[in-house]
């Protein structure tokens, strides 16, 4: 079993550093640029590595669109519905101040700065999260998400009522015409 490290190419150096720190703490990691076998199809290898992973670390940032390879990895993790399983550790590691993808918003995020000590601290926190996967879920953010969902449904209901009212108005105009 391994920890899948999802990163964009701009974060390759940080990903390698973090993997080294995790290895010192006896955590196996899977990093595409290091673990892909020569000649293997990238997408199939990534899918297999995701399916075999015990947990996921997402290096996110700097702000701006991530690369297509990382987006592909997120898509696979979402497709397999791992984000819906609170017992599966999904650990966002923020570099800079990026926007988090929606499916990770309820998870406890760690912040990685460009210093060796920060990398060690993040690795320690990841080890803790692996010991207690449920701790990777942020209950406050989960509650905030529930509230956002209630508001979204309410706004959808209002939209539906507005459409209905406009439809009635249009039917009236057609009848007069």
């Amino acid at each position: 079993m391994h920890l899948f490290i999802s990163h964009s190419r701009v974060n390759s150096a940080a990903a390698f550093r973090l993997c080294d720190e995790l290895r010192k703490r006896n955590v196996n990691t899977w990093l595409d640029v290091r673990d892909l076998e020569p000649g293997a199809a990238w997408d199939q290898s990534v899918i297999s590595a995701i399916q075999a992973a015990a947990g996921f670390v997402f290096l996110i940032g700097p702000p701006g669109p991530g690369d297509r390879w990382q987006t592909f990895e997120w898509q696979q993790i979402v497709d397999h519905e791992y984000y819906l399983d609170p017992s599966k550790p999904l650990i966002p590691v923020l570099i800079g101040d990026p926007e988090m993808p929606g499916f990770l918003k309820t998870r406890q995020a760690l912040v990685l700065r460009d210093t060796p000590i920060s990398c060690e601290q993040v690795a320690e926190s990841i080890v803790d999260a692996l010991k207690n996967p449920a701790s990777s879920v942020d209950e406050t953010k989960l509650e905030r998400g529930r509230e956002a969902r209630r508001r979204a449904l309410e706004s959808f209901r209002e939209y539906s009522l507005t459409l209905e009212a406009e439809d009635i108005k249009r039917a009236g105009i057609r009848a007069i015409e």
Partner: protein, 189 residues
């Protein structure tokens, strides 16, 4: 054949906490359709473009070009947004089998999600894309839960179609989607 996929898409969007909008919303208004589409796109942060109907159809054996045209409009919003600070993100849904690489090769490098012309695959493709957007808020129903709710929507829309003498308006579709999404309740995680 197309209607069930469209209804599945609308249900997925609403179930995930977004408000579905489409050109049909302003059916019957006097503005040209293209103006109404442009307005709808400008007012939306995200857009979904189904390019799976690429084959010729109808008595004249012609393909439909509306979807690629609308995708072009969304792309221009996206690129303009980079300088104006207004963000717009889009996704194109394509048929399975990489055939899109032959009819719209300019999308190379975007890895558009594919579907196989079934409600289940449309729900999965749209869920996958919306869930990774920054405005998605968990908890929301899983693709499986949305698929389980879909037959109820199909049933309601079938009844509404009979009542509407074979016609389903956008307000009727939205009203029934809203009923189904409300009945889905609050997801746990």
């Amino acid at each position: 054949m197309f209607a069930p996929l469209f209804h599945a898409a609308v249900l997925t969007i609403a179930a995930l906490g977004f408000t579905p909008r489409c050109a049909r919303e302003t059916e019957g208004e006097s503005d040209p359709r293209i103006d109404r589409i442009a307005k709808g796109l400008r007012e939306s942060k995200y857009s979904i473009h189904d390019l799976s109907r690429f084959q010729s159809e109808g008595p004249d054996n012609l393909p439909r070009f509306n979807m690629p045209l609308e995708l072009g409009m969304a792309l221009s919003l996206r690129y303009q947004g980079k300088s104006s600070g207004v963000s717009h993100n889009w996704v194109a849904l394509v048929p399975y089998g990489f055939v899109h690489q032959k009819f719209i090769s300019d999308l190379a490098g975007f890895d558009p999600p594919a579907h196989e012309q079934t409600p289940a695959s449309v729900i999965k493709a749209i869920s996958g894309w919306l869930t990774i957007q920054p405005d998605y808020s968990a908890p929301a129903p899983s693709p499986k839960a949305i698929l389980e709710a879909y037959p109820r929507l199909a049933e309601l829309l079938e009844e509404a179609k009979i009542e509407g003498l074979g016609h389903l308006t956008w307000p009727v579709i939205v009203k029934n989607v809203e009923r189904v999404v409300t009945a889905m309740g609050e997801p746990a995680s």
